[in-house]
Amino acid sequence: MKLKEYEAKDILQKAGIPIPRGVLVKKGSDYLVSPDIKEAAIKAQVEVKEAAIKAQVEVAGRGKAGGILMADHAGIRDTTEKLFQTTIKGLPVEEILIEEKLQIQHEYYLSITIDRSQKAPVILFTTEGGVDIEEIAQKNPAAIRKATVYPLLSKVPGYTLRYLLNGSPKEIGAIIQKLYSVFMSQDALLAEINPLVMTPDGLFAADAKLILDDNALARHGIQENRDLSERERQAAAHGFSFVELNGNIGVIGNGAGLTMATVDLINRMGGRPANFLDVGGGADRVRVAHAVRLLGSMPDVTVIIVNLLGGITRCDEVAAGIIEAGVSQQIIVRLAGTNEAEGKALLSSKGYRMLDTMEEAVTAAVEAAS
């Protein structure tokens, strides 16, 4: 789950990384969220000559999309109001972070993510911050210093810091160390400071990004993954993975790979999948019934294909779930694996169309939907 800028900065600040002074304001709150922040705001307004007004929306290229405006002291309120009236890449602006403008001497880029091949955290650092790392990687790949850290170490070794910094101010080493501890303690998939700004008063994280591992949210007291759409949330609550696509053939599979391959094959045969739905391992009757009903409730879906191979999933449970759902759309079923005979018998007795192979089932679904 992606954290918003101010949430990420709050975590960084608690870890000892300096962030610009600022205040968060919410739409329709007459500017001020809580008495604490009101005081901070007043203080910030008094002291801040110039401010960055930043929409708290999670989109790539927020600055270029008009999500960050500059204002002098007198114009902060008007500029903030103006930003609240806009949408950034289609997203409404509900929260705005007003920060003092920093006196930039230099902008660095710093991030920590996971290197899948090395199976270790990897730190990226470059003296050319302030733009997207993808852009730097294209224009000047040699400027990026990259180092992995052995995952069982609690700190980044000194030699690794020296390699990364390559002569840049050594205070940045302390920031890397703190960001590493945030990355490890928060179960982060990405911790990024871009830009990390050098000012006459020292280093500041001018912008920050944190993406947390969805599988570790509960451990950090987060009950709900905000990144999911309403239907995806419903799906997750029932224990399956769900992605909405734009077609008319509802797809239910078990296992991500088989479900993906089913979606791919429908496309290849000229059909249009409405979704990707993986009921998960060991799906029982209740979950399958929910899955079928969820697709049945999608207005564009005219045919549902259920393509299941039982490993940890029992076919008889699946069959019972399909029957129980009782949706109006035509359902084409392909079942094989654990308790296969029982599942097949159950479905045939209720008149469902059963096919033996995935290709036959997809062919039938594409024909029925066209």
Binding site: I114, R116, S117, K119, A120, P121, I133, E134, Y150, P151, L152, M184, D187, L189, D213, D214, N215, A216, A218, R219, S241, V243, L245, G253, N254, G255, A256, G257, L258, T259, M260, A261, V263, D264, L265, N267, R268, P273, F276, D278, G280, G281, G282, L308, L309, G310, G311, I312, A336, G337, T338, T357, M358, E359
Partner: protein, 293 residues
């Protein structure tokens, strides 16, 4: 056949849970049918002394391993404690841990896999269907009746996709030596390259099918080092960008891991890539294999 055989004594962790108990029974039905040792012990902390389908349950992996002379484990424990179980197994001196569990936090996997490597313990998974060698051993959840013994190895990031291909191979009269689900997570123990290296040393295996998907670059890495002829299939060619397709590892980020780009790179390496699963048996049989890549 690689990683384990008939004589391997297996421990199941999470033995008293629903899935653990169901699959102990299935694994042992298979072991009995071929005369293998199968699951010789279960582990659930606090439930030592119980039995599951006639298999004795212990409180710790070390106790189970010592009492029953077991060298490998299959994990059905919850995601929040699976990293811990991998390290416990490595610490108890086991050679092999197959982790079926999904939804394990990736930091836990990263640390557990590194720890296991330090202790010379091989980790397969997590988030995988396990290991199945027809006529030798079932260590996981693969449906036994789909497979048949023969010369083709299968390595896959996805469970059910594996069954689909094994089913196709068997229907076409092509048997399998070992079927390895390496798992759908961003970080996994054994990779395509690791499993291919094992297959290269296996006298039974003549060719290998690798079943990949979008995300990461483990397929290309494996193909680059492969000594045996390889045929590939990659799922997710029509998946939308930046969306996680079920598996935590199946996501295109920052332009990396796109399925079509992956297929192009594999073909550049001389690896035949099937557009449809049903083409795989013909590619194996029909001499489409480029053995000189």
């Amino acid at each position: 056949m690689i990683y384990a055989d008939k004589n391997t004594g297996v421990i199941v962790c999470g033995a008293t849970g629903n899935q653990g108990s169901f699959h102990i029974d299935r694994m042992n039905q298979y072991a009995r049918s071929i005369g293998g040792r199968g699951v010789v012990a279960g582990v659930t902390p606090g439930k030592g002394g119980q039995e599951v389908h006639g298999v004795p349950v212990y409180n710790s992996i070390l106790e189970a391993a010592e009492a029953q002379n077991a060298t490998a484990a299959v994990l059905f424990v919850p995601g929040s404690s699976a990293g811990d179980s991998i390290m416990e197994a490595a610490d108890a001196g086991l050679d092999l841990v197959v982790t079926i569990t999904e939804h394990i936090p990736v930091h836990d996997v990263m640390q557990a896999v590194t720890y296991a490597q330090m202790r010379d313990c091989t980790v397969i998974g997590p988030n995988c269907p396990g290991l199945f060698s027809p006529g030798e051993i079932s260590m996981g959840i693969m449906p036994a009746h789909l497979a048949t013994r023969g010369p083709v190895g299968v390595i896959s990031r996805s469970g059910t996709l594996t069954y689909e291909v094994v089913h196709e191979l068997t229907r076409a009269g092509i048997g399998q030596s070992s079927i390895i689900g390496i798992g759908g997570d961003p970080i996994i123990g054994q990779t395509f390259a690791d499993a291919l290296e094992r297959f290269a040393e296996d006298p039974l295996t003549k060719a290998v099918v690798i079943l990949g998907e979008l995300g990461g670059n483990l397929e290309e890495e494996g193909a680059r080092s492969a000594e045996l002829p390889v045929v590939a299939f990659i799922a997710g060619t029509t998946a939308p960008a930046e969306k996680r397709m079920g598996h935590a590892g199946a996501i295109v980020t920052g332009g990396e891991g796109d399925a079509n780009a992956k297929i192009a790179r594999l073909r550049d390496l001389g690896v035949p890539v099937a557009d449809r699963l049903s083409e795989i048996p013909a590619m194996i049989r029909g001499g489409n294999l480029n053995v000189n890549h």
